[in-house]
């Protein structure tokens, strides 16, 4: 009986100890200096030694690819460009502990935990869109740097889509025959852009869109005010093409181009995905007004952009032409109406008449041009 009493007493002490620990932690957090989230304008972003966690590469190519090698190259290039990288083992432990399997984005909870537990300032998220090592090799990557913390924001986003025969040169002397060489060139393109943006050398990696990539049909509601800054949530597109993950790929291109346009603040796709999963939204047949209202409210966004991909074709070998066909719909928060709708389709050999001049060899490069034209028209029409 006495033993039972002691045991009960010990349990009580233990329980009260546990209860006290939570407020203590809360007090410590409340008392500490609040850490400001990293933004493009903050001096920390441009400072040397920014700690970056490199997430495993998301493979959207639908084919096997040397993902580990690409990740190692990314880490090496980051370090070469003055970043600190979070140790792979530390990141692996973190991902295992938090059961993170999706590497194509980051939500607020994970971003905060990443900052607290690994002391990372930002996270590099890379999606491999295309990898083909047969001659001529082809590679396409989309990469973005997202701030760690309670409000993850996209700090930088770049893309590179190359084919070995993009610029063959005289007698084919400039052909790239090895996939490794092409991969190196693509990564160099990405990091050149990143370092130029960070140093402030270039504000926008933007050139005027080409007319041939303009949407073939478009509608813009007068509700949409030109030059107003909108917060946009980009949803994965419905994929009706034969290419795996084409819906996610086109959505990523839109995220990049909307960021570049300057008129739009784009919500990190990882946060959008998390909310869609949380709300159990299934977009069968497209985005309904009810779902749009729910998503816009939860994400505190002004616009929701979604669409449908009908074709997304790359080709193997030397003969062929990539082909992309998609439509876009934008719904606005206040009116809950479609404020933008467009249909775009292009081929890599559109407007090419002499000696393959102006020919595009990857669906990635065409999509980049097409999405840029759509966004420019949407922002400034």
């Amino acid at each position: 009986m006495l033993l039972l009493g002691y045991f009960f007493f010990a349990c009580l002490i233990c329980l009260s100890g546990c209860a006290g620990s939570a407020p203590k932690t809360a007090l410590i957090i409340a008392g500490s200096e609040p850490e400001l989230a990293l933004t493009v304008d903050s001096p920390d972003y441009r400072a040397e030694g920014l700690a970056v966690a490199v997430l495993p590469i998301q493979n959207l190519s639908g084919a096997p690819a040397p993902l580990k090698e690409i990740k190692q190259s990314l880490i090496y290039k980051l370090q070469k460009n003055g970043f600190r990288t979070i140790d792979d083992k530390v990141l692996e432990r973190f991902m295992t502990f938090h059961r993170i399997r999706y590497t194509g984005g980051i939500d607020a909870d994970v971003a905060q935990a990443l900052r607290d537990e690994t002391k990372a300032d930002a996270v590099l998220i890379t999606s491999l869109e295309l990898y083909d090592d047969k001659y001529p090799p082809k590679i396409a990557l989309i990469s973005r740097l997202v701030s760690a913390g309670d409000k993850p924001a996209i700090l930088w986003m770049g893309n590179a889509g190359l084919a070995g025969d993009d610029s063959a040169g005289i007698l084919g002397l400039s052909l790239i025959e090895e996939a490794g060489d092409l991969q190196e060139k693509a990564l160099n393109t990405l990091f050149r852009d990143l370092s130029e943006r960070r140093s402030g050398k270039s504000e926008r990696g933007y050139s005027q869109y080409k007319k041939k990539y303009l949407p073939k049909i478009s509608y813009r509601s007068p509700v949409m005010i030109p030059d107003r800054k909108y917060t946009v949530a980009v949803l994965p597109f419905i994929n009706e093409s034969s290419r795996k993950n084409a819906g996610d790929i086109v959505a990523l291109h839109f995220v990049r181009q909307l960021r570049e346009a300057g008129n739009f603040e784009v919500i990190e796709p990882g946060i959008v995905r998390q909310e869609l999963l949380g709300l159990r939204i299934i977009m069968e047949g497209g985005m309904s007004v009810a779902n749009a209202s729910l998503v816009l409210g939860i994400l505190d966004a002004d616009l929701v952009l979604s669409g449908r991909v009908m074709d997304y074709q790359d080709y193997q070998g030397t003969e062929g032409s990539p082909q992309v066909d998609f439509s876009v719909t934008v719904i606005e928060r206040k009116s809950l109406e479609t404020v933008w709708s467009s249909k775009s389709y292009n081929r890599g050999d559109d407007g090419v008449y002499f000696f393959d001049r102006g020919r595009i060899n990857t669906a990635h490069a065409i999509t980049s041009e097409m999405t840029r034209a759509v966004v420019e028209l949407m922002a400034n029409e």
């Binding site: 509608y219 047949g285 009908m310 479609t338 709708s341 249909k343």
Partner: protein, 193 residues
């Protein structure tokens, strides 16, 4: 001399007949309900199209083009496709491409549309004749009024195919996207006529 003049006259007459034939307009296959006030239609819902072609995606492709072209006229607002799907599920329409009048009335009440458009893609393929090939599209549309579910407008269009020039000089005809746009444009023109 007289014989020669007669021959020239025959040739001129033949050319004139050919010229007149080329001016003939195609038969108008559209129908407009004379009692319907089409100007009152501000919001429409476009149902998924019926697909009678061999291409599984033809109906979705054509519907996509039609919705965008109708919106781009700026005259009519088209309800987002996701909202249409939601309405179809809520009403429990078993065949959205051919809804009954009762279903139309219930459906338009939910999605707040003034009319519903259904359609069918009859042909969406490449046709061949000898060594020549060309793309062809054939489609038809029906508009049903929201309050009664009555048909108020129908139209059909066929574009593409092999013409005499293709037969003589070869060539693969026009791209499928281009003839789809032409067919849809023709249908929209008949609606606003």
């Amino acid at each position: 001399m007289l014989m020669r003049e007669k021959n020239i006259f025959k040739i001129i007459l033949l050319l004139f007949i050919v010229f007149l034939m080329s001016c003939a307009t195609a038969k108008d296959t559209s129908y407009h309900d004379p009692n319907m006030d089409f100007a009152a239609i501000k919001t429409v819902a476009v149902m998924p199209f019926e697909n009678f072609s061999r291409d599984n995606l033809a109906a979705d492709r054509v519907r996509d083009v039609f919705i965008n072209m109708l919106l781009s006229t700026g005259e009519v607002y088209v309800i987002p496709t996701g909202e249409v799907s939601r309405g179809v599920v809520l009403v429990g329409i078993t065949n959205p491409s051919a809804p009954s009048a009762e279903e139309i009335v219930k459906f338009t009440g939910i999605v707040k549309a003034d009319a519903v458009i259904t359609g069918a893609v009859k042909e969406y393929e490449t046709v061949r004749s000898g060594t020549t090939s060309a793309n062809v599209i054939s489609m038809s549309l029906i508009m049903l009024e929201a309050r009664t579910g009555k048909i108020v407008w129908t139209a059909s269009s066929t574009k593409g195919g092999i013409n005499t020039l293709d037969r003589l000089f070869g060539g693969g005809g026009e791209p499928m996207n281009d003839i789809t746009e032409k067919a849809v444009n023709e249908l929209i023109n008949t609606f606003f006529k």
